[in-house]
Point group: C2
Chain length 345, copies 2
């Protein structure tokens, strides 16, 4: 491209909104995915999409077969110019290679850099050019050819050379969880007790490792099955591993015993709010990372249980979150083992 | 009743759940509203219901006329044994007189006490006996005859003698907001700047007063109309009053200017998440009190804007919240003026 004539856009990507006018890209129904960068934009040649777990689960439940799921994703992206599940409202992230950099981009990326986007697909202009021919629809990781656009105020991380792309992408997709867990557990003070609901998953295992590194002395993982409990025990990431249905507050309450100072919710199914609240001591904190969290269920649940707990909406952005999560993966063989097991499932 | 034969229940009210079995009362589809207390329960003769603002708004939008709204509320309570709006998931609170106290109740109430319940109607067993004959369906405050049940771990406040019931009830209904605002603003430190979206409403005006009392030196109210701006200016609760649509993040961003340390969302309409996030400085806090808040919109909004803000789910329970809010009303003529104006609208 000729940088001399690059169009000037908004750092929030307002110029990419097609309809309705005057909203932010994430709220838009349709974005313009034109792969010609504005002055502060970066264009990516896409290799792979990583769909949000709640989104992928919903697509599988609605559409059933892999072919039908693939058709659904293609339909959403064709209609909306972005991959935002209309039911869950969530997206995911992507991996690719920098193809073009506008002259005013603040992201410090160069053409040829292998990157992962750390802003949601729900606001990322996306065009798919291969019909997702290489994807069987049976995994949330989607091989994909196409282009995507990053705005001035986007976030992208250059992929590490020492880790397989798939694992790096999986880590970056959930890297907000361990970073915020680290912050909250440090605020709670040395010796805090921490419960992770869904401790065997990606964000869950990273959060367990982050909690221990932040000084927690009682780290409890709650998982849904005995098999997952065995995996987490083998990984050595928790002091206690308990099996219970996170959606059943009475079962969670019974399994945990003494309430904890910090509860981190990493279970991507609805209905885990009350269990998390009942497991948390008065004065403690619940961090909700699941996109399946219901705001009213959390707010009214705490009130209804007369629970003086602080409840945080898990923000996917914490400065330095990608590097922090990748370091955890490198330093903790247990985390790496759980990620590797999920990759090959 | 004969206390010798009172049945023993669960402090969480599990024994009142009719269907589905094994869930907490708030998650239940139907509760048993039988006005015979279990050993740790209290039964209330109901005078008035105060519907949650988001719930009442939805009922009005769906049903239109006052008669239709009244019929809808009667239908919900008859079917569910509680007043939980099936669309919004929210409830409200009630006012009444203690009719019976089980021998093991920990609530320290006595027969004849005039009380307001501070747990949500979404989990309070309720029976209506007058067909809501005295309610025109045109206000969220509902004159009502019937009975309600409080569990061992419920919260109720004895009504003050020095304030009209309607105003006390309105204050108690939103008393979690000023109490949590107080806590968050004190954590932010002396001289914090605070924005209240919906500063002219009930929770909003109390939150403005709480912010200033907690040491905030820049208190900004954002309201939707010039008329409301005039009312808030007259009340003297804010240093700045700005008019903008809280659902329009770009308009909010422009109206606020320099981002604030703490943003409190008291606007009971969907779509205020992005504006709140964009108005808040990095390192700041957003407190969401509106039941219309979308969890994914908040979580993904912060990520998409690369905003390092802490986001709190507004917990309706903070110890001492009712007394704190009533004291604010007594001490702040501006708050009282705004409440009185709403009562007579």
């Amino acid at each position: 491209m000729n940088a001399q004539v690059a169009r000037v856009g908004s750092p929030f990507g307002l110029h990419r909104v097609v309809e309705p006018a005057g909203v932010l890209p994430q709220q838009a129904h349709r974005l313009d995915p034109d792969p010609e960068p504005y002055a502060d934009e970066v264009v990516i040649d896409v290799d792979r999409l990583n769909l949000d777990a709640a989104s992928y689960r919903q697509l599988r439940e609605q559409h059933g077969t892999g072919d039908a799921v693939r058709a659904a994703v293609l339909g959403i992206v064709a209609e909306r110019g972005k991959m935002q599940n209309p039911v869950t409202g969530s997206g995911g992230m992507l991996l690719g290679t920098v193809a073009a950099v506008g002259p005013d981009s603040p992201l410090a990326l160069e053409v040829g850099d292998r990157v992962a986007t750390l802003v949601s697909l729900t606001l990322t202009p996306l065009r798919i050019t291969d019909g997702l021919a290489d994807w069987d629809g049976l995994s949330e990781q989607v091989p994909c050819r196409g282009t995507a656009v990053l705005f001035g105020r986007s976030i992208a991380a250059v992929l590490p050379n020492d880790l397989p792309d798939g694992i790096a992408l999986s880590v970056m997709d959930v890297c907000g969880a361990p970073a915020l867990t680290d912050r909250v557990v440090r605020e709670a003070g040395v010796g805090a007790s921490v419960l992770v609901l869904g401790g065997g998953g990606k964000s869950g295992s990273l959060s367990l490792a982050a909690a221990r590194r932040a000084g927690a002395t009682r780290v409890v993982a709650l998982v849904p099955t005995d098999a997952e409990a065995d995996a987490v025990r083998s990984a050595g990431l928790a002091d206690e591993v308990v099996v219970a249905d996170a959606r059943d507050p009475l079962a969670v309450h019974a399994a945990i015993g003494t309430p904890v100072d910090v509860t981190v919710v990493c279970v991507d199914v609805p209905g885990c709010e009350h269990g998390a609240i009942m497991a948390t001591a008065d004065g403690g904190t619940v961090v909700f990372f699941s996109m399946a969290t219901s705001f009213p269920a959390a707010a009214l649940g705490a009130e209804g249980l007369a629970a003086d707990v602080r409840m945080l909406v898990g923000n996917g952005y914490v400065p330095g979150h990608a590097a922090f999560a990748l370091d955890l993966l490198r330093a903790e063989p247990g985390v790496r083992a759980l990620f590797a097991a999920r990759e090959t499932q």
